[in-house]
Symmetry: C2
Subunit: 206 residues, 2 copies
């Protein structure tokens, strides 16, 4: 296999196949930010990367595997980018994490929407990736708050936090679909305030 | 067209075509409570109703139209069954409505799940019916609370109530999928308490 450069690599360097594949996945995720999964074909990626379709098939097998790899990378990116800081008060860390979540959906709207839609569609693998990402995000709420300062882990709170993730997703996507009359900061206030408020339903203030 | 009786009609009466169609739709919705939309074929309905497939096609055109009619009926049933009482305190009416919602999903789990799944799948008509039902449910929050005792209608609260509906749906379906350790009444407490708690995020208590 000869040396391949994509438009996005600079300066020209010889990459390992694994690095090249990772680079192509990054490009796929970037392309997904402005188009749906259906619109992201091997052809589009080949065109954007400036390499042949044949080589892409070499890296990704077929269209289905390509989509799966891109969605998995997008889910990993989401989890990574919304990671709260290691230090700080739980509520502050929640604020940082939710700010990053809002930014992520803001900047990757089409891609995020297609992840959510793919998850509910017929494809089991994509649904699984989505469920894993969501579980990672909700598990983190408990892991990051191991002392239970905001929320203690119980069957009730697990259910609640999972449903809160659905709330957050719908809130942000609803705002992106029709932002009229609602500011970015107001959405952020709702995102951050909603979790403690919902926990308060289970543990009423004295 | 001759006289037709279904197993569900008793005593034998001559129904108008519209009445017969409505009766078959009722049967379709009942069948949907224990099977997914994919499993609800014209064959199954014909078998259960004790009439010919040909006659069902006469009433419903094709499988797609049949599914659309059943889902629309199921959505109408959901809206109707969860209607809050006309009189009473807003929070009490919310409690009655949420109790009915929980009961509905409890008793029609497979059907409700297939409505939610169909909405996210590729079928535009089914998604539209789902969106209409959800809009009807959230609009009602404002209509039933015209004085804004719980919640005033603003762009922010519209977004919040819509996202709350996603929370409620995920909470109930999550509980149905894995009810271990969480009682019916605890789910109801979360359903009823969540809306005022979320509104409180926008309008902090003095």
């Amino acid at each position: 296999m000869g040396r391949v450069t994509t438009r996005t690599s600079s300066p020209r360097t010889r990459l390992s196949p694994a690095q090249r594949r990772a680079q192509l996945l990054d490009l796929g995720v970037r392309l997904l930010s402005t188009r749906s999964l259906d619109e992201l074909s091997i052809d589009v990626l080949a065109e954007e990367a400036g390499i042949s379709r044949g080589l892409l098939y070499h890296y990704f097998g077929n269209k289905h595997d390509f989509h799966e790899a891109v969605v998995r990378r997008a889910a990993d990116d989401l989890i990574e980018q919304t990671a709260p800081p290691v230090e700080g008060e739980p509520l502050h860390r929640l604020l940082v994490s939710m700010t990053a979540y809002l930014d992520y959906v803001d900047q990757n709207h089409a891609g995020y929407l297609s992840l959510v839609k793919a998850a509910s569609g017929g494809n089991d693998t994509l649904r699984e990736i989505y469920e894993e990402a969501r579980a990672a995000l909700t598990d983190r709420v408990f892991r990051e708050d191991a002392q239970g300062q905001i929320i203690k882990e119980t069957p009730q709170t697990r259910l609640l936090v999972r449903a809160w993730a659905a709330f957050a997703e719908d809130l942000v996507l609803g705002w992106k679909a029709d932002p009229r009359g609602v500011t970015h900061d107001e959405v952020l206030t709702m995102l951050v305030g909603s979790l403690p408020a919902l926990v308060g339903v289970l543990v009423p203030e004295p």
